[in-house]
């Protein structure tokens, strides 16, 4: 483990996703703003310490913005639908709805309890968004897709292309707007939209075509199989998906016969698995230096899972503090220690810095 590659190699993207999803799961099981705040802080800290300068890594602040927006929206909606509570902060004029929607009042007295409930709710959703943002900032999407089973390979490539197109679009918009500023002429909003959108879109299209041509000439999509195999693969996948869907209906619908439930679902999964294998076998491609899953990956994923476990173990009352009556939320020790462990990846010995050179 001491050779230079094992030190500077990036952490397996799957480990980051496990870590982040475990945090998100922890967030989904609590509305305690102290715990949620801690989760956001830890996610942001790890991102700041471990992210690269790659294009996908700079998007984290957008996730933060969206999360903040979600919180604000939740609070505003609570204000609209006039949640009741003893501590009335201010009163908005009530809007009477027509008889069809009787029983619902818009606006009216706004209570601190309602606002806090909205805030707790919004913060929970916002924290989950931040966790997903952390994963996408830390994990290289291309390497994640490369680690996927071969059956998903072609779908994965489509995603890779779209992932790389997006930052390029942002770059093009900046470049074209600068260039357009050089040209004189009317500066109406519609005109500006047209003068920026058209060059940016044609530019993106051109780049995509060059990329597609490059991938094609380098052998992307070579498949030596014969037509009937492909047909069989599609059939298996279709029957599999159908089986799973009908099975799920059978399981959930109490009135349906027994054979429509579990047996159909199991058959569907089995046929689908065969189709998956067939689709995978079609892809005749190999992997160059796949990301290994070693101690570091276990540690990163483990930190996340431990934190989630610690939150799950915390009592119901500590996880869901009451908003009505308003009380100061408790700070459960086990959950806090668990979440601090989730910050462990900050300390990891191998900072992933190869992009920043």
């Amino acid at each position: 483990m001491t050779d230079s590659w094992s030190l500077r190699r990036p952490t397996h993207p799957g480990a980051w996703w496990l870590w982040a999803l475990a945090l998100a799961a922890a967030a989904s099981h609590t509305t305690n703003p102290l715990l949620l705040g801690l989760i956001v802080a830890i996610a942001a800290l790890v991102v700041a310490a471990r992210r690269s300068a790659a294009p996908w890594a700079v998007g984290f602040r957008w996730y933060l913005t969206v999360a903040a927006l979600v919180v604000v929206l939740r609070v505003v909606f609570r204000m609209l639908t006039a949640g009741s509570g003893p501590t009335v902060l201010f009163t908005l004029p009530t809007i009477e709805l027509p008889a069809a929607a009787a029983g619902i009042t818009l606006l009216g007295p706004v209570s601190a309890e309602a606002l806090m409930a909205g805030f707790y709710d919004g913060l929970r959703l916002g924290t989950m968004i931040v966790c997903v943002g952390a994963a996408s900032a830390l994990a290289n999407p291309k390497r994640l897709l490369a680690a996927m089973p071969p059956a998903l390979y072609e779908v994965g490539t489509v995603l890779v292309v779209s992932v790389s197109v997006f930052p390029q679009l942002v770059e093009s918009v900046g470049r074209v707007r600068r260039a357009q500023a050089l040209r004189r002429g009317p500066r109406t909003r519609r005109h500006q939209l047209k003068t920026v959108v058209i060059p940016v879109l044609t530019d993106a299209l051109d780049r995509s075509l060059v990329l597609a041509a490059s991938m094609d000439s380098r052998g992307y999509g070579r498949s030596p199989d014969v037509a009937h195999r492909r047909w069989l693969t599609s059939l298996c996948l279709l029957v599999g998906i159908g089986g799973v869907a009908i099975g799920a209906y059978g399981v959930l619908d109490v009135g349906s016969p027994t054979w429509l439930g579990i047996p159909t679902m199991v058959t569907g999964i089995a046929v689908g698995a065969v189709g998956f294998r067939l689709a995978g076998a079609r892809v005749q491609r190999t992997r160059y230096r796949p990301d290994p899953w070693r101690t570091r990956e276990w540690l990163v994923a483990g930190c996340g899972v431990l934190a989630a476990a610690a939150v799950f173990l915390t009592s119901q009352i500590a996880r869901f503090p009451s908003a009505n009556p308003l009380v100061w939320p408790p700070l459960p020790l086990v959950a806090v220690v668990g979440l601090l462990i989730a910050g462990g990846p900050v300390l990891s010995a191998a900072p992933w810095r190869r992009w920043s050179r």
């Binding site: 050089l182 003068t195 060059p199 060059v210 000439s217 380098r218 491609r285 160059y288 992009w355």
Partner: protein, 535 residues
């Protein structure tokens, strides 16, 4: 020669893109034996890229169009195999290597093609290492592809297709975006592949001065659909596109035409004698008052300083070339001069333009590197009309300029459909329409053939005559020799040289034009100078 089996065989190939459009290539017969370095030359928009595209089936499978005749490459015919089937036979590198990269890092990019072919991991490891060494990019293995310089990107792109083991390499203008030194590195790497590994290379190139001496065969695409091929020295005697060295050879009547500086110097003894004691007749530029002055200009992007305390003055009627390596801060300096780009400190002041119509409130005109960003309408004519309207000049001014830069562009064509050179000419014409007092051009000669460059020099000279100050950032030394009175060289964001063209570039090993190298120690820069002196 008849016994040699060609690796590329085009038999009676014609290509047209639309049912009733004129054919791009007409009845082309071309046989290329193994291990040759083939240079494809021809005027802008003559169909060089289409010819290259035929070699792995991108034309017509990817681009569309109708191909008649047979194209056989290796043992495969493009009529019944798709480009992906040629991946192990032909490696194709497009003009913009960055746009063709699929992965993020050098090492992954080199392996990508092999992964698609399903090679075993052990083979991939060995080949990646071999390729890194072969192209001299071993120290870049972990680097992000986006952070590489142009020359490095081009070499990685070549390595990425080469690693899959093709015996044929197809390169579309591999040096068009590169400074002279990076271009040398790329060409040297390609030549080594041909000499040491016996790879067959087919390369389209506008700047023949960079590659002609290495060519075993020249393929001339005429523009009317016809294609001729043969020995470079023989074909060059009458070729419509010719580098300065060949023009000098034609002028001096050297036979066979020398294609390298070394051969030309051997033949140039009598010419040097005839020119002895004379110097180039260059009219002293009629330089007027200052039009724009930059003082201690600094441009910083985060921790990176692109331009450091540069002072620069452009005077009325002055023709200045801005040179320097890729990434030396040329573009940042141009943008800062327009007043629109980033400027961290220092000042840019405009002097009043006393050219008749009072004070000048025009922004400084700049044609950026990706010139297509300026264009947004759907036909060439519409762009020209819009430019006439925006600049408030007589209708047709822009179109007339365009016709002088690149004649024969169809007015109804979409600006994206014309060739790169033609598109650049259009953007140039649009920006020049209002006859601005200061004109900045960023890499205007990219993708232009010799005729278009000469036309550009003429147009720019006329602008200078009426008092326009011109600053052109370029890598093209031959263009600089013909165009500039004065050369400014940037290195690492700092100004390292600023002086008359003859003094600055003739002394530089990287920037000296061909004529100057051949006739050294005499100070001649262009064939026109020599011709004028001999007349």
């Amino acid at each position: 020669m008849a016994s040699v089996v060609p690796v590329i065989d085009l038999a009676d190939v014609s290509l047209r893109y639309g049912e009733d459009s004129r054919p791009v290539l007409r009845h082309v017969d071309l046989r290329i034996p193994e291990g040759e370095l083939v240079v494809v030359a021809g005027p802008t928009g003559s169909g060089k890229s289409s010819l290259l595209g035929l070699l792995n089936g991108l034309v017509p499978h990817f681009s569309g169009g109708v191909v008649t005749g047979t194209v056989t490459v290796g043992d495969l015919r493009t009529s019944d195999h798709r480009p992906r089937d040629f991946a192990a036979t032909v490696g194709v590198v497009s003009q913009d290597p960055l746009a063709g990269f699929v992965t993020d890092t050098v090492e992954e990019e080199l392996a990508y093609g092999m992964e698609q072919l399903g090679l075993p991991p052990s083979t991939m490891r060995t080949r990646v290492e071999e390729t890194l060494d072969l192209l001299g990019i071993a120290d870049l293995r972990d680097r992000s592809l986006r952070t590489l310089s142009g020359g490095q990107q081009q070499r990685v792109a070549i390595g990425a297709v080469l690693a899959a083991g093709p015996r044929i390499l197809v390169l579309d203008e591999p040096t068009s975006a590169l400074d002279p030194t990076s271009a040398e590195e790329v060409i040297a790497a390609v030549v080594r592949l041909v000499h040491d590994l016996g790879v067959t290379v087919v390369m389209a190139e506008h700047r023949l001065e960079r590659v002609l001496q290495h060519a075993d065969r020249l393929v001339l695409v005429a523009g009317d659909g016809s294609v001729v091929d043969g020995d470079p020295a023989t074909l060059m005697a009458n070729a419509p596109v010719a580098p300065p060295l060949v023009e000098l050879g034609r002028l001096a009547g050297w036979s066979p035409l020398p294609l390298s500086i070394r051969d030309a110097r051997r033949a140039a003894g009598p010419l040097r004698d005839a020119l002895a004691g004379r110097g180039p007749i260059t009219p002293t530029p009629a330089v007027g008052e200052n039009l724009i002055t930059a003082t201690r200009l600094t441009v910083r992007y985060g921790p990176h300083t692109a331009v450091r305390e540069v002072g620069l003055t452009l005077r009325r009627g002055e023709r200045v070339a801005l040179m320097g390596r890729n990434g030396s801060g040329k573009s940042s300096l141009l943008w800062a001069l327009t007043g629109l780009g980033r400027r961290t400190s220092g000042s840019v002041t405009r002097q009043e333009f006393s050219g008749g119509s009072g004070a000048d409130d025009r922004p400084v005109a700049l044609v950026p590197q990706s010139a297509a960003d300026l264009l947004y309408l759907d036909t060439v004519d519409a762009e020209c009309r819009a430019a006439d309207r925006q600049e408030d000049v007589d209708a047709g001014t822009c179109r007339a300029l365009l016709d002088r830069l690149a004649p024969g562009i169809e007015g109804a064509a979409h600006p994206r459909d014309v060739s790169e050179g033609q598109r650049l000419a259009l953007a140039l014409a649009v920006q020049l329409t209002g006859a601005p007092s200061v004109v900045l051009l960023d890499e205007p000669t990219r993708g232009l053939d010799y005729g278009a460059k000469a036309a550009l020099v003429t147009v720019l000279s006329e602008l200078a005559t009426v008092g326009t100050a011109l600053l052109v950032a370029t890598h093209d030394v031959e263009f600089v020799a013909r165009f500039a009175d004065r050369v400014v060289i940037l290195a690492g964001g700092e100004k390292v040289a600023d002086g008359p063209t003859a003094v600055v570039i003739a002394a530089s090993p990287a920037f000296a034009p061909q004529v100057s190298r051949v006739l050294h120690p005499q100070r001649w820069l262009t064939v026109d100078h020599v011709r004028a002196a001999l007349a």
